[in-house]
Structures are given as structure tokens and as C-alpha cells.
Symmetry: none
Subunit: 196 residues, 4 copies
């Protein structure tokens, strides 16, 4: 109807809602179109096909997250504080954008393997934010410098990602995210402390 509004983000936001609710493979392009308030065919003016819509969604949203995290971390000086903030912010954003969280967590995994030619570089960039924090901590003596950055960043991400996922999936008895953030950060900070 509205001819001028920018359709691309509008479609992506609709897709997030729909994919979060039903999953990518159970969602119809028509569902996304309906949610976006546009005609089915309009989606194909902005995306090559259904796969491309999912991939574009990833690229766009992970890029945004990347920026958000980079900016947020600027205010913190020590690696410990940065790690704390990363975890806190991750939980906060996942809480605020549960639909996006579901799509990123479930579909990104699913799709990065099966949609041909898609390599989720942005996701790796995102992981590297944690990697950079670890490196920094190792350099200034906050963290054990013998730890592998590559595997440790995955361990940390895996932890908070799984926690976020289960928090989102559980309907009742949701645990307290803020406190959990503190606990997890504390475990990793203690766990990564240099050996005396």
C-alpha cells in the first residue's frame, strides 16, 4: 500500500517474526509477505529467493549486533569488564529481541550448513569480539596466556548462547538473566585467571 516506505527492512523484520515462530522451513514466503503487509511477489523485488531472504537477514542483523557490541565495549577498560559487559549485553539484547534471538540461534546453525554457498563471515566476526577480549586480557595479565583464544572464545560463546536459548525456550520458570550473566562471567573470569 504505502509506496514509499523502505521495504527491505520491513520484510526482514517480518521474516524474523515469522521464522522465529515457525522456523524457516515451516514458514511460507506468503506468511512473510502477509506479516510485512505486502504482496507475495514484492519480496522478490528485494530478495533473490527465500534462501536469500534468510541470508540477508543474517548479514544485516549480525552486522548491527557487531556494531552495537563494538560501541558498547568502548566504555570499558579492562578485559574482565569487557567480558562482563559482553555477556550482560548479549543477554539483554536476546531478551529484548527474542524473535531475532531465536532466528539467529536456531536458523543460523541450521542454515549455515545447508544453504549452499553461504559462509557466515559476519558471525565469525562477531565471535572474534570475544577473541579480542581474551587476547587483550592475556596481554595485560588478566587471563592465563596459555589458553587457546580460538577454543576459549567458542567455549564462552557456547555457554551464553545455550543459556540464552534455553531462557527463550522455557515458557515458565525463566531464570534471572542478570544474575546468570554475573555468574557465568564470574566462572569464566575465575576460570581463565593466570596460574600463579
Amino acid at each position: 500500500m504505502a509506496r514509499n516506505s523502505d521495504k527491505k527492512p520491513q520484510i526482514i523484520d517480518a521474516a524474523i517474526k515469522v521464522f522465529a515462530e515457525k522456523g524457516f522451513y515451516n514458514s511460507k514466503v506468503a506468511d512473510v509477505a502477509k506479516a510485512a503487509g505486502i504482496a507475495d511477489g514484492t519480496i522478490y523485488l528485494y530478495f533473490k529467493n527465500k534462501d536469500d531472504l534468510l541470508i540477508s537477514l543474517f548479514e544485516t542483523k549480525v552486522s548491527e549486533l557487531l556494531e552495537t557490541f563494538k560501541n558498547a565495549l568502548l566504555a570499558f577498560k579492562t578485559a574482565k569488564d569487557k567480558l562482563n559487559e559482553f555477556i550482560r549485553l548479549y543477554f539483554q539484547l536476546m531478551e529484548e529481541q527474542q524473535d531475532l534471538a531465536e532466528v539467529l540461534q536456531v536458523e543460523l546453525r541450521q542454515s549455515s550448513k545447508f544453504i549452499k554457498e553461504y559462509h557466515p563471515q559476519k558471525f565469525f566476526d562477531f565471535l572474534n569480539i570475544i577473541g579480542d577480549i581474551i587476547k587483550e586480557g592475556q596481554q595485560n595479565g588478566e587471563f592465563d596466556s596459555t589458553l587457546s583464544v580460538n577454543t576459549t572464545k567458542l567455549a564462552i560463546f557456547g555457554s551464553i548462547d545455550e543459556l540464552a536459548r534455553q531462557w527463550i525456550l522455557s515458557f515458565e520458570h525463566k531464570f534471572d538473566l542478570k544474575q546468570t550473566a554475573n555468574n557465568v562471567a564470574s566462572i569464566f573470569i575465575k576460570g581463565m585467571a593466570p596460574v600463579i
Copy 2:
């Protein structure tokens, strides 16, 4: 082919291969049948439908894992040793059964949300093995007793699961799983140590 062989595990093993390679939604029932060396229709003699095949696969395999882990942990006395062994064994099994690992990790997430009426109880049982180790450690003073068992078990599982996933997904430069097992176990054991 083999007259008397039980077809059910045969189909499940074929499904693991096929789903691991292409993903559940990109796999055809006919693909599974072909991989199992049987006719398409035969699958429906053993499983209600495609969803049921996936769910049965989960149930069967997670039950097996459950038994394997429970038995393996009997030999260890301290919670620290048990946690060490759990992580070591998890990586070992994922390495030995990469196809199964992929299906469990990727499809379990995908499906537990979108296949209606499926609640992966066995998976929670599995998670609770970690929970039990933590509780034991808290009771005998090995671990900080103020930690939430529920979230910490997820943190640990998330870590090793993410590491396993990335190890499986990476084609080259695969990191050393044994060493990584030690590192991760070490981080968590240090990180969960009681506050003095």
C-alpha cells in the same frame, strides 16, 4: 536385504547419515530409504511419519548416550574427575560419530521447537548428568555451592557443544580435541571452585 535384521535401527542409522549431510528439511524420505537399502514405503511400517523418524532417532540415540555416560562415570569418584571425564567422553563420542553429532546438535535444536508435541525429555535427562556432577561437587566442597545448578549445567553443556559443533564444521585446521577437553574442563573446574 538381510531377511531377519531389524529394520528399525537400520533405518535410524541411514537417517543419521542422510540428515547429517543434508539436514532434516532438505532430506527426502526416499533418500533415507535408499541409504537404508529398503523401499520408501517400508519406513512407514516402522515410523509414523518423517517427524516421528527424527524424534525416534533422538530418543534412541540420546538414550544410548545416557547409558554410555552413566556407565563411564561410575569409575570416577570426585566431581572434578567426573566432569573431566564427561567432557573428554563427549568430545570422543562426537569425534567418533560425527554424523550423529551433527544431527543431534543441529536438528535437535531446530526440531525441538518446531515439531509439534515433541518435548526432548531425554535430552534434559542427559543435561542432568552434568547437573548431578555439579550438585555432588557442591555437596563435597569441590565446587562453589552458591552456583545455580540449572544455569551452570547449561553453561558447561553450551561450551562443549559449541566446541564440538565448530570442530565438526571446520574442514581444515581442526583444533586438538583432547587438549581442548582438558582446557575447558580446567576452566570450569577453576571457575566453579568454592570461594575461600
Copy 3:
């Protein structure tokens, strides 16, 4: 319904009817399926896609025509008699199988150019029956030996094909096919006579 009847010729015959009536591009696969008394999907068990159905139809039917003509001409000795018989039989067959005639005449032209990778070899084989008659006539002095076989065969085929087409297309006032066959044959036989 009937599980055993051979579906391929059944589908081809249905396709001839449907394509003759509506044209290939205006026919739906569902139309052909309905006409064949089968389900839509069944067509794809026997043909790769809609294009393949058309091409298979051509191959099959032109091969059959080829056989019919070759056999029929055996009974005739002179080139003139063979040409006469060819024209007579062509009109007769087109009259008997108007649906097939329409599809061959209209769609073969249309499609041989636009369906990629299709080269109507069978059609050229068919044309060469006329070419062989001309050659034979040139060798035994019935026809002018300076005539180009390649172009003359096209001239003859073009004539009878156009006549058949217009006869099929005209609803009323259809001209007499038998007499026309005689006239056309006579024109070409006279027209190709050797120069004294």
C-alpha cells in the same frame, strides 16, 4: 487408478489432445494429467518436465510416422509413384490424426527453436524420406537431375504441410484432400520432370 496400464503412451496421447486444443504454452500440466486420468505428479514419473513431455511426444510420434511411411513406400516401384503415395498418405494420416497433426505442425516449429538443446533429428529423418525419393527419381531419369535435393524436398514438404495445416484449421469449406493430393503430386511431378 489402474495401476498396471502403461502410462507413458497414455500420457502422450492425452498431451496430444490437450496441446492440439490449447497449444503447448496455454496447456497446464494439470490439464494433461486430467485428460490422461492420472494425478499431476504421475507425469513427472515418466517425463522430466513439461518440455520433456513435448519433446518425447515428438520423438515418439515422428518415429512412428517414419516407420509408417517407410513401410508404405516399399510397395511402390517408381519415384513418381512413391511421391504420389507419400503425399496421399501424409494427407490421410493428418486427416485421421488431426490432433497429432496440429501438435506436430504448430508446436514442432515453435518448440524446436525455443526449447533449449532440442534438435529435431527425427523430423529431419522424416524429411529425408522425400529426399530419397527425389534422389531415386533423379537416378532413374524420372526427375531433373540438376535439382537440389535439399531444397526441393523442403519445397515439397512445405507445400503439403501448409495444405494440411490449412485444411485442419478451416472449419467449413474444407477442400477435398484426396483430389488435392493428386493435384499437388501432379504439379511436382510435372515440375520436376527432366528437361528434354
Copy 4:
């Protein structure tokens, strides 16, 4: 682009190019618009719809041909010379305007049957030029007066049309059109000679 140029012939010429290359049913209105250097919607200011564009194309071009032929034949006196010239000019024009030739030959056949309500009157007018030549030849004793004008004109047109088509379709080894024109004309003139 050019402000004042009449868009209608511009669109028709673009359509000829596009339809010749891809065929009517495989051409998109957008393709024609692009080839004409205008916007998609503009076509609908000049033509009711895609079918109408094709039909208008036929009407316009066949009318032009009609005029060209009528004028060209004025210079010739005998029916034989006129027939000679008709065939020569037909081949010449088809050679000069291959795109138009393809559209007329292939699409006219295809469409005259399937585009509802279209009766290619102009095409019949064109055929009647040949009919008139035959009649004239019969009246002045050049041709056999017992021949049916209606079928003979179709025979002649079919011949040269098929020859033109195959000449256009063949990529290499194109036969010599001028010589073929002479041969065909000669066959028909000899073939239609009055019986003594």
C-alpha cells in the same frame, strides 16, 4: 528517449527482435520494454495487452508486406514473371528481415490458433496475391486452368515459406537463396503449365 518519436512502431520493432529471439511465450513484456528503451507500463499505453501487441505487430507488418508486394508486382506483365518476382522478393525480404521472418512464420502459426478472437485476415490477403497471380495465369493460358486456385496458392506459399524458415534456422551451410528462388519458381511454372 527521443521526445517526439512515435512509440508504437518503436515498440513493435523491439517486439519483433525479442519475439524472434525467444518466441512469444518465452518473452516477457519487460524484455520488450527494455529493448524499446521504455518503461514496462508504457507498452500498455499503446497496446491493450501482450496478445494485442503480437496481433498489432502482425497486422502492421503484413500490411506493409502487402503494399510492398503489390507495388513490386506492378512492373511485371505475365503471370510467370509475377510469380518469379513474388518468390524472389519473398526470399529477399525474409533475408533482409530475418527477425520479422521468424516472428511471422513461427508465431503467426502458433498464435492465429490460440489467441482468441484473432483471425489473420491480412495474412489471407497476402496469400491472395499468389491466388491472383494464378488466376491471371489461368485466364491468359499460362497455367493449367483446371487447377484449384485455393489449394495451389497454399502449395506455393507453403513451399517458399518452408524454404525461408529452414534457411533462417540453419546456422551454417545456408543454401543460396537466389538460386533456390529460381528453382522453385521453375518447378511451379513447369508444374502448373497447361496440359496440351
